[in-house]
Symmetry: C2
Subunit: 395 residues, 2 copies
């Protein structure tokens, strides 16, 4: 028999998928350039040319077996070493190659980290609003997702409620900064307070609590915002990174898990990830992509467009009297809808060819997400539609 | 706390890893070209030049977003369509794109297939000798691996014992033809008999029994040997393929799961695989590698060297009076050791710089595996060492 658990998952409708299908259909009618599609987090800026050049150079200079032969399942040793060195240089850490596990982007890193530190029945705390995929990542391991309601003034951490919810069964805390969907960047103060609280709870409960830090947007931070390196605040940190956003490489499925060298069993965790991979049939990213990424570790795509877009949209929303925390990074913005039911709000927006995503699946009803990783020209052209939408319906 | 299950797995010593480390160390002393390393199934022949050319062309002709943007998690639609068409042309099937799920090679395909059709406590039958990784693939889903002892005369299926072992809890049967490690290729007669037996047991038990067919060696078949397409014999077939061996691309982690269109819930299984991926953090292979493979679907690397090597070794083994079923395909050969303890036999071989793998982890004590995906020159140079080893110790 087909396993019912996964069959059932298919019945759950994905709002984002429906919206993006609507956008594609509507695009056929009026031209996709006239559909203001803010639904998807697919980077719009090209990969740095140096990445494609590195790929071409590799194809011309290396043997077939060096390029396409088996990578050890933990990643190519020279690549792991370069990743460790880059992190050490940038963030004052002391990683060695043994602390780096190459993964299928941040999704693979988070999934492995969760399997390292939880068994079925354990609780994992995450903070609203959260990336909806955290639910399957966590629940399909058998662990239980508990969510901490948002501090809607800042989208930093709501420590009062967090302290009420954390308990002896909490084995991991999953954070995401800069945050999808709020765009908030946790401050040094937030991270210090989080670390102190976790350390005191570790003592109280007599077991480790691991901080799984999902950081695909680490490099997308706007002017004047500090973006501290999470792992430097808390020893039991497992950092999950992806090159999908910083290098505009989401299709290549490459990232890593970096285990803080001071973490409990730090020297074992990456090797354990290799064992976890044996069970899920994942054995690390493409070898040639690993080699090419290692040549451009400290580069990013030209991401200045995201800040330009953010300012255009933020200023327009404020001018319209909407409530919105100004994003510190990412390519998302997370305003409050103008009616309680954000799905209804977003449905009305469709009549103005505006594709907005209601935030119920992010754990935050009444809000919506706009992904502005699109051309600035299109963002500018969307503003009159946004004004008409709000004025026609809510003024 | 770190999860003990994976920590324990680390303590289990991998014989193959130990042997390959020995080979590397010994190589430093006497030059690796003088170590007759038959331990690893890493293809020795280069990828077809057309694959690297396709990659280069893509880099020059496509936009960054076409090349490196998100692939849908089931695979790029045009690639899935081409895979279906190629299978239909070659094997007279009627797959559509919806029946093809792009995976991290055969490992990913088998892991997804197992999760589609088993829940914890279900039994999966596999046949000795079997690829040792089947154990973690199956057991880490919570299912139970039951193994059917070998027919050591032919390494086809031992149907008498199979009929005794199959039971109401058997939800899947996992086969591997051409077989690692025996090199046996299941005949049409074997597959017909297997299909008949499974169909009658489905009726008897009142539930589906899925045939998970692991086929990474499908294209490596020697002269005069027929290699029938498994799925054409049995509707409830899930075919697991990898380009690792046929295109010499093991590091690129690309393959697919092909669901027989007549399989129960055929139209749902691939979509379910997408849901399974959400839990394990795998979201399909590299996009540029998918696009490049789609350009060379019906090509293979020049694999004639494997048959040449097989004949050299097989003839030598027979001349030495050893017992060995002649391989019909793959790049493995699977002789009987000359003492009961194959580990002891292989340990003695090390003194002759011969790296042979005892088959205990393949479920077949008393046998050993040689992987001859190495230069023919090296195979030829290994034969005198093999002769000395056998004559010194066993004649």
């Amino acid at each position: 028999m087909i396993v019912q658990q996964y069959k059932k998952m298919l019945e759950g409708k994905s709002v984002i998928r429906e919206l993006s299908e609507f956008a594609a259909e509507r695009g056929k009618e009026i031209g996709y350039e006239n559909v203001f599609d803010f639904s998807l987090g697919n980077p719009s800026v090209p990969v740095p040319q140096q990445f494609n050049d590195a790929l071409t150079d590799l194809l011309q200079s290396k043997s077939s077996i060096e390029l396409h032969g088996y990578s050890p399942s933990l990643g190519i040793p020279s690549v792991r070493k370069k990743v460790a060195e880059s992190l050490n240089n940038r963030f004052g850490m002391n990683y060695r190659a043994e602390h780096i596990f190459m993964t299928s982007a941040a999704a693979g890193a988070v999934a492995h980290a969760l399997r390292c530190v939880t068994v079925p029945g354990d609780e994992v705390l995450a903070f609203v609003p959260f990336f909806p995929e955290y639910r399957p990542y966590i629940e399909l391991t058998g662990a239980i997702l508990k969510t901490v309601p948002a501090d809607k003034e800042t989208f930093q951490i709501n420590f009062e409620v967090f302290e009420e919810l954390i308990n002896k069964k909490t084995m991991a805390v999953l954070i995401n900064t800069p945050n999808n969907p709020s765009g908030a960047v946790y401050s040094a103060d937030t991270l210090r307070r989080l670390a102190e609280l976790l350390r005191s709870k570790e003592k109280e409960y007599g077991h480790d609590i691991f901080l799984i830090s999902d950081e695909p947007y680490r490099e997308i931070v706007f002017a004047g915002v500090e973006s501290p390196y999470v792992s430097s605040f808390y020893d039991n940190s497992l950092s999950c990174y992806s090159y999908s956003k910083s290098l505009s490489l989401p299709g290549e499925r490459i990232g890593y898990l970096a285990v803080n060298p001071a973490c409990t069993d730090a020297d074992l965790i990456v090797a354990m990830c290799g064992q976890i991979s044996r069970g899920i049939g994942h054995n690390c990213p493409s070898s040639i992509i690993q080699l090419a990424v290692a040549e451009v570790l400290d580069l990013t795509a030209d991401m200045s467009v995201y800040e330009t877009n953010m300012n255009l949209i933020y200023n327009q929303l404020i001018e319209l009297g909407m409530s919105c925390v100004k994003p510190g990074g990412t390519f998302y913005i997370f305003p409050k809808a103008l009616e309680e039911d954000a799905a209804s709000f977003c449905r009305k927006a469709l009549q103005y060819d505006l594709i907005l995503v209601p935030a119920d699946s992010f754990g935050c009803p009444g809000y919506f997400r706009m992904a502005y990783c699109i051309d600035t020209d299109k963002v500018a052209r969307s503003l009159p539609a946004l004004r008409r939408f709000i004025k026609d319906n809510y003024h």
